[in-house]
């Protein structure tokens, strides 16, 4: 019953992710690692593919994992599952949600939920960056090329954010890192 497992796993991802984009990464990572669907390296590759193709990242990842695990039916099941909670909540609860947005208790809960989510995403990003440099935490070996590239790309990216109005686009960073990767690892 792989399809049911895909459906339930992505239903959970869709139901417990607030805010778009990378907010879904920690929970998706937890889900795919627990099910043995992807490892960290392949997940990072897929996030880059999702960033460079149109559509919500969460939906892209669901479609891809569903398809690889169980073909077209798997892709459909995972994709529908990831959007279903959003669809149902907006349909049934828009009025309740608008009212809740003015309730002090709800705002207080969201007031600390937001930094919690930000902290979770930060830890996931830092951990993935660390993994790229030392391979794995259990048997760390420093990859000097990766360390150099991480320092260089981070410097360029954050400097562009700081010193230009809109900063460098994620796609440009991905292209740049791809070119650097070819130069360092394939040539």
């Amino acid at each position: 019953m792989k399809i049911l497992r895909l459906f339930l796993a992505f239903l959970k991802v869709g139901a417990f992710t607030f805010g778009g984009g990378y907010a879904a990464v920690p929970l998706i990572r937890e889900t795919v690692l627990a099910n043995g669907w992807l490892d960290d390296a392949r997940l990072s590759e897929l996030i880059a593919v999702s960033e460079s193709t149109p559509g919500p990242i969460m939906v892209n990842l669901a479609t891809y994992i569903g398809s690889v695990q169980a073909g077209v039916p798997g892709a459909i099941a995972a994709t529908l599952a990831v959007v279903l909670p959003a669809f149902v909540v907006i349909l049934l609860l828009t009025k309740a949600l608008k009212k809740a947005l003015t309730s002090e208790g709800f705002r207080a809960a969201f007031g600390t939920l937001r930094p919690t989510i930000a902290g979770i995403i930060l830890a996931t990003g830092v951990f993935l960056a660390l993994n790229n440099v030392i391979g794995s935490v259990q048997a760390p070996v420093i990859d000097w090329k990766a360390l150099l590239l991480t320092a260089l790309l981070a410097a360029v990216y954050f400097a562009s954010r700081k010193f230009t109005k809109r900063g460098m686009s994620p796609i440009l960073l991905i292209l740049l890192s791809g070119a650097a990767g070819i130069a360092l690892y394939a040539v």
Binding site: K12, T17, F18, G20, G21, Y22, A24, P26, E30, S44, A48, T53, P54, G55, P56, V59, N60, T63, Y64, S67, A75, V82, F87, V89, I90, L91, L101, G105, F106, A108, A109, F110, G111, P115, T116, I117, A118, G119, A123, T124, G125, V126, F127, L128, A129, T150, L153, A154, R161, I171, L173, L176, S177, G178, A179, G181, I182, L184, Y185, A186
Partner: protein, 190 residues
């Protein structure tokens, strides 16, 4: 029927031409739904991000469902939401058939060894931007730092604690602080 097709097509356009998902889509949604089609008023558009952020799931889907429902009820919500999904679904499905073999190519593998590093940076950047939008109050800073440390420990020691449990804990702290505060204020008033 014509309006349903129109909803589907407009959201398919938004889904097909915005990269990165989530908040990257909001300007395009505004252009189509407010300026071109007048499906939403400017006030409704301004309230949309908060609504999408406090309901689960992809921001783009929240927006599509909301606008579709406003226009044409449940059929409208289905049409707009499907429109948003279909373009990326088709693209990713086609990609999934050959991506694995493609990634085995020496040059592609080299490129992705670099791209993996960019992804780590992008995720850190997303978190930094979330933090920068938060109010700099003591509870916010402490909860954010606590969540970071806990999640770091979970990752480093491969602990079996779900991020969902962390999120519930985070929300519970805010609610508890609020209830304690209210009780104190209540106590003073009596």
């Amino acid at each position: 029927m014509k309006q349903l097709i129109e909803l589907f097509l407009q959201f398919a356009k938004i889904g097909a031409f915005t990269f990165g998902g989530g908040y990257a889509m909001l300007p395009m949604i505004e252009r189509v739904c407010v300026e071109q089609k007048q499906w939403l008023s400017e006030e409704e558009m301004a309230a949309l991000p908060a609504l999408a952020e406090s309901s689960p799931g992809p921001v783009a889907i929240n927006c599509a469902t909301f606008v579709g429902h406003r226009q044409k009820g449940i059929p409208g919500a289905v049409a707009a939401t499907l429109g948003m999904i279909v373009p990326s679904f088709v693209i990713i499905l086609l990609l999934s058939f050959f991506l694995d073999r493609f990634l085995e190519n020496k040059w592609v593998a080299g490129a992705f060894a670099g791209i993996k590093i960019a992804v780590g940076i992008l995720i850190v950047d997303a978190a930094v931007r979330l933090f920068s939008k938060l109010p700099k109050t003591l509870p916010t800073v402490l909860v954010g730092a606590g969540a970071f440390l806990l999640m770091m420990a979970i990752n480093l020691f491969a602990l079996h604690i779900s991020t969902i449990a962390l999120m519930l804990l985070g929300a519970a702290v805010g609610l508890a602080l609020y209830l304690i505060g209210r009780r104190r204020r209540g106590g003073q008033a009596q």
